[in-house]
């Protein structure tokens, strides 16, 4: 079989270049936007993804980690009764007002009260063991490197949270928060910082299972028991997803992503289809001749669709290479970009869908390849 589509694409590459660029940049734009949004909003679930808990227990209806309410401390024994549970520990979230040693004004901070013991689950992936051990000292806090300037402190200095004096004993990394600053401390210090005397229980209980694969089943099993007051359970994966989704849609960022996807698709498809239509028109007489010789319109359409496919594939390749380079550049500049497999697949689907729609549009112009017009 003579590979008409590919040979034409290679021989007349200049003709197809605008379409490839349009497809490539459409893909790149969408990819980077998605990676940025995922990177920024992914940080809202760092409490979950940075910890090794498999099941989270919290107040029913909690929409993201930062908006939890206290639950009855006795729930802990209920959770521990389940044979699949290996370890349970409380996690206390306190919204605080930070006043540093220098003039910074009031800064709202998210205080995370965690178990500082070496086997503690919270932030086990984000906190070095030595740093964690230092939290056992009374009134010790750890802050993230990215917010040192914002908080106006450095290691060894003191500040106040909700009027209570704390000392910065260490600096973590990768614990950026959205809309505030994360401050890590021990459970006992967190209780001291909490100004509300009615808060007696933890905000969350986090549990480690003997078999992490059972997280969904155990979470479902522990749910719905009201003997200890209201609480509900999530597997860590579900809770992280709920949290990210809350931010995506509460802030309108999700709608923004979809809106841009629509625009990118439209602009890309217009440019690509126009280029393909011009390419088809350029070979119209040849196509008509083939049709006169009895080559069916269906076969000619396949040629156009194949060209659209290759335009999409080559554009995608270019976008992929450029995307990796830009992502590496972003990482080196501490820009939060994250790309996961579903997001990458979504971008590929968008680009190939765009190429397919353009191919179909170009295919329509083949109707003018009427061999009778060749006879004048």
């Amino acid at each position: 079989m003579v590979a008409l589509a590919r040979k034409t694409l290679i021989y007349e590459w200049r003709r197809f270049l605008p379409a490839m660029l349009a497809v490539g940049f459409a893909g790149l734009l969408q990819l980077l936007q998605l990676a940025l949004v995922l990177g920024i909003f992914g940080s809202t679930s760092v409490y979950i993804t940075g910890s090794s808990a498999d099941v989270w227990v919290g107040y029913p209806g909690t929409q993201n980690v930062g908006s939890g309410r206290t639950i009855d401390p006795d729930v802990e024994s209920r959770i521990l009764m389940d044979p699949a549970v290996q370890r349970v520990e409380p996690y206390i979230w306190v919204d605080g007002d930070w006043r540093g040693p220098h003039e910074t004004g009031g800064i709202s901070v998210f205080v995370s009260g965690i178990d500082p013991s070496p086997e503690g689950l919270m932030f086990s992936k984000a906190l070095l063991p030595s740093l964690r051990a230092r939290l056992a000292e009374p009134d010790a806090v750890v802050v993230d490197r990215s917010v040192l300037d914002q908080l106006g402190v450095n290691i060894g200095e003191t500040a106040t949270i909700n009027g209570h004096q704390v000392t910065v004993v260490g600096i973590s990394s990768g614990l950026r928060a959205l809309g505030g600053v994360n401050v890590l401390t021990s459970l006992s210090t967190a209780r001291e910082l909490d100004g509300d005397p009615t808060d007696i229980g933890p905000t969350y209980l986090v549990a480690k299972l003997r078999d992490p694969k059972q997280a969904d089943a155990v979470a479902a099993r522990l749910r719905g028991d009201t003997a200890f007051g209201p609480y509900t359970t999530w597997s860590a994966k579900d809770f992280a997803r709920i949290s990210v989704r809350y931010w995506m849609f509460d802030t309108g960022a999700g709608a923004g992503v979809l809106f841009l996807a629509g625009i990118v698709f439209l602009v890309g498809a217009v440019i690509t289809s126009q280029t393909l239509i011009a390419a088809v028109n350029g070979s119209m007489r040849e196509y008509a001749t083939l049709n006169a010789l009895g080559v069916g319109v269906g076969a000619l359409r396949r040629v156009v669709l194949e060209q659209a496919f290759w335009v999409g594939a080559l554009g995608l390749l270019g976008a992929g290479v450029l995307g990796v380079v830009l992502m590496l550049l972003a990482h080196s500049q501490d820009v939060p970009v994250v790309l996961n497999v579903p997001a990458a697949l979504a971008c590929i689907a968008l680009v190939m869908g765009l190429a397919a729609v353009s191919g179909l549009a170009a295919m329509r112009s083949l109707r003018r390849a009427d061999p009778a017009t060749l006879l004048r």
Binding site: L4, K7, T8, T289, N291, A292, G294, V295, V297, P371
Partner: protein
């Protein structure tokens, strides 16, 4: 002396036959009747030339007889099939199996070599790859283009391009070959060569060649010349005895 030949011709069915066909074109409010109650027989194995001034309806006639255009009324028989009763798919299939075309513009794909131009339609005929390639090579050899079959159209002269276009039509081994002004874009020597090839195809392969041209050089080589004007045949003459010629060579 033409009696026995004429008698035998009357009994063999014609390759192409138009029976009382009419065709009009409508452009806006203007309606142009190109052919009206027009009848014609084209015999098999001959080079038939239709000549006449532009606008006389000869290209329309070619389009109708080759199944590229439908008639308003009347019947067209090609190799015994009534073209008016075939749908678009069936017409494509008929053209694929039985007809070849040579156009004034050579209409070659810029990206393909001469060999690939010829092989391409054969791929769609259900031939094996080897058979398609063997046919393409034979066909290019027949028009004297074998040495240049690796070249793309941009590297070929006009005459060479038209020879590739003829090879493309010829490789299908069609019973019917339609040519529309095949020489008008070529110089004298190349035009002559194309005419020789078309003539040879008719006589060596028994192909019915129907050529539309106003090139006087073609007239000399045609077995039969039809002069057309205003949608009518003005004259119908044979340049030499067709049966003797086709049997003799």
């Amino acid at each position: 002396m033409t009696h026995p030949a004429a008698a035998s011709q009357a009994t063999t069915p014609p390759a192409l036959q138009a029976i009382g066909i009419s065709k009009a074109f409508v452009s806006g409010k203007l309606r142009t009747q190109v052919l009206e109650n027009f009848s014609l027989r084209i015999e098999a194995g001959e080079l038939t030339l239709i000549s006449g001034p532009s606008g006389c309806g000869k290209s329309t006639l070619l389009a109708i007889l080759s199944g590229l255009q439908k008639v308003d009324s009347g019947r067209v028989l090609a190799l015994g099939s009534e073209l008016g009763q075939l749908d678009l798919r069936a017409l494509e299939r008929f053209r694929l199996q039985h007809t070849g075309f040579v156009f004034q513009g050579f209409n070659l794909f810029p990206a393909l070599s001469a060999f690939e131009q010829v092989e391409l339609p054969l791929n769609h005929m259900g031939l094996s790859r080897d058979e398609a390639r063997a046919r393409a090579r034979r066909s290019l050899e027949e028009v004297g283009m074998a040495p240049r079959m690796k070249l793309r159209p941009s590297e070929l002269s006009g005459g060479e391009k038209q020879r590739v276009a003829i090879a493309r039509a010829l490789a299908k081994e069609p019973e019917l070959l339609f040519a529309d002004e095949p020489t008008s874009a070529l110089d004298a020597a190349n035009g002559q060569m194309i005419i020789d090839i078309l003539h040879r195809i008719a006589h060596a392969h028994g192909t019915t060649v129907l050529c539309v041209s106003h090139d006087p050089r073609v007239v000399v080589h045609a077995d039969r010349v039809l002069a057309m004007e205003d949608g009518r045949i003005l004259s119908d003459r044979r340049t030499h005895a067709p049966t003797n010629d086709s049997k003799g060579t």
